[in-house]
Amino acid sequence: MGILKHFCAALLATTVVSFAAPAVYAANIAVVGGKNDDAFWNIIKKGVDDARVIVEANGGTVNYLRLQTYDNFAPDVVQLIQTAISQKVDGLVIPNWVPEGEDPAIKEAISAGIKVILMNAGGYEKAQELGAINYVGSDEYIAGVAGGEYFSKNGKKNVLCVNTVPGAANLEARCKGVIDGITKAGGAAKQLPLPATSFGDATAVAEAIKATLLQDASIDGVITISAGDADSAAIGVLQAGKTETVLLGTFDLNQSGLDRIKDGTQGFAIDQQPYLQSLLAVTLLASAIDFGTDLPTAPVLTGPGIVDKSNIEATLTGVSKGAR
């Protein structure tokens, strides 16, 4: 059984990594990340793995702590922070997803002498408030504005922002950014929140977008809040017979979306460049702990990077290496 062998090898590899013990004194860093089957967090992992090479070369270690599920979100994240504190790490890279839950634990880590960098979620103001040394990530709102402006630059006037997880603050900020970005440029946009029963059902998402496009003929742009939703949206737009007229964009990247950008059925994708987030956060933190460096650039914004026909080839190379 080849597949089984591969599976076991993968399992072993992750186990070995997480049990690697520190050898000499140098920065031991814990990175908290999202679920395994979340494509995004596997790119973050690539950044962590590449940064690890540098940290280990200086005698330190990097431990990537991942959430198993998102069902018990806030307590699980806090638990991971506690784990890092109890492991007596020197540095912690953590996304501040749920400030109410995480803030006390992050403060506790800082008062235990751990240097913290907020990554991916939280923002620079939050980092300052907590006493973290920096924020490395993108700003959802700024990314949204960039998307809105891109639509406008390409002559689009009425954009639909499809939100498959309405109520999630970061996704709402993406749509709000899009709406503000295009409104400022003289266009219009609105959000289409989809019910939870559609999440993960590609057909239901595609049909919802198709129905909305048929109902409102003035919509000439569609943007989705995740790369997977863009796969559904592409079929929805095609079904409505509007591939030629409706410009499709999305937040985040995946292979099929890039294929569409390459052959022209999707306009663009907004990338927050997750690889840079973990790579920069881990190396910055290790350097600050080991060598006392201090980066005056703050926050460190890793996005938005817009992928469209002009830079698709280089992006595809990055994808094949698991970094985009």
Binding site: A10, T197, G200, D201, A202, T203, A208, T212, Q255, S256
Partner: protein
């Protein structure tokens, strides 16, 4: 049999489901528009219903027999990823991907079935275990083999034949899965309501021990049902991958809940022993209409989930009333 047959019709297991369907249909025609019934609008809920229906019927049959299979939530992406990895990432012939997908369904179904009959562990727990196990397996394999959790399967790799069979839009808007769903429904109706298989099924759901004592091959039947649901889920995933040209690890979980809802709206008892294939078929359409109908109304989209919840509750209540009427009915003495 001289009586007016309306009473008899209303007491059939699927009549409640049918009235629930009529109710939501009228609701959305009144509050939405007639567009909803025209081809483009109908495609919108028929496509959703077909996708759900292909797994809802075997899940419903398991529920009639007193078991549950929630591992379908992982089998759908597993089926999709298998075909996408084999034929998309490695570029092997599409038939190999299709066979691989269905074989995986067969294997997981057998594992589910044997674990349920060999151990005393409830099928909810067994399939919860395989749900996570399969999810972990596909994630591990996908990341290990392809380095990503979203694997593309281009139309060229699928080829014209597979695209036509599993992933085309008939008349530009009807997914070919609708035909699969209809054909499968007819086959299920035949086997469940017009063959010994069906009587065994209901006997199994009614009282397992008596069923076995009466000589019904209960173990074989249980394993067959688990294989059916698992293979159906893999089949659906495969169709989706070919249709959407991509497979994702994280998709499919909503199908667990949605299929159980469709089955219950269709009049199957959660405790087993009662239900019908036509009922499940109608329940699935009801669910799809409620889910998609919202886009044809002028309600603020933020209220979607609320409306879906209330409509489904009303449909089930309606259904329940009729089932109670049917089960407590006694003909007047002559």
């Amino acid at each position: 049999m001289k009586n007016f047959p309306v009473g008899d019709l209303l007491r059939r297991p699927e009549s409640g489901a049918f009235l629930g369907l009529v109710f939501v249909l009228v609701f959305f025609v009144v509050f939405g528009s007639v567009e909803f019934l025209k081809p483009a609008g109908a495609a919108s809920w028929l496509n959703v219903a077909a996708n759900l229906g292909i797994v809802a019927i075997p899940v419903g049959l398991l529920m009639i027999s007193g078991e549950l299979d929630i591992s379908i939530g992982a089998m759908i992406p597993a089926g999709a990823l298998t075909v996408a990895i084999i034929s998309g990432y490695y570029g092997l012939p599409i038939w190999l991907g299709v066979v691989g997908s269905l074989t995986l369904g067969l294997v997981v179904g057998l594992i589910n079935g044997f674990l349920v009959i060999r151990t005393a562990v409830p099928s909810l727990i067994v399939t919860l275990g395989t749900l996570f196990a399969v999810q972990g397996l596909i994630l591990g394999c996908s990341v290990f083999l392809t380095g990503t959790t979203s694997v593309a399967l281009s139309p060229a790799q699928s080829g014209a034949v597979a695209k036509a069979l599993f992933g085309q839009f008939i008349g530009g808007s009807f997914q070919v899965t609708i035909i699969w769903w209809m054909v499968l429904t007819v086959i299920y109706v035949f086997y469940v309501h017009y063959s010994p298989f069906g009587s065994w099924l209901f006997a199994l759901g009614g009282d397992k021990v008596s069923a076995r004592n009466a000589g019904i091959p209960t173990d074989k039947l249980t394993v067959t049902l688990f294989v059916l649901s698992s293979v159906s889920a893999a089949f659906l995933g495969m169709c989706q991958a070919i249709l959407f040209n991509v497979a994702q690890v994280s998709a499919g979980m909503t199908f667990i809940f949605n299929s159980i809802i469709a089955v219950v709206v269709g009049g199957v008892l959660l405790t087993g022993g009662f239900g019908s294939v036509i009922g499940i078929f109608l329940g699935t359409i009801t669910f799809a209409i409620v889910n998609q109908g919202i886009y044809f109304t002028s309600f603020d989209r933020n209220w979607s989930s609320l409306i879906i919840g209330v409509m489904l509750l009303l449909a089930v209540l309606m259904n329940n009333t009729f089932r109670i009427m049917a089960l407590t009915y006694s003909p007047k003495k002559k």
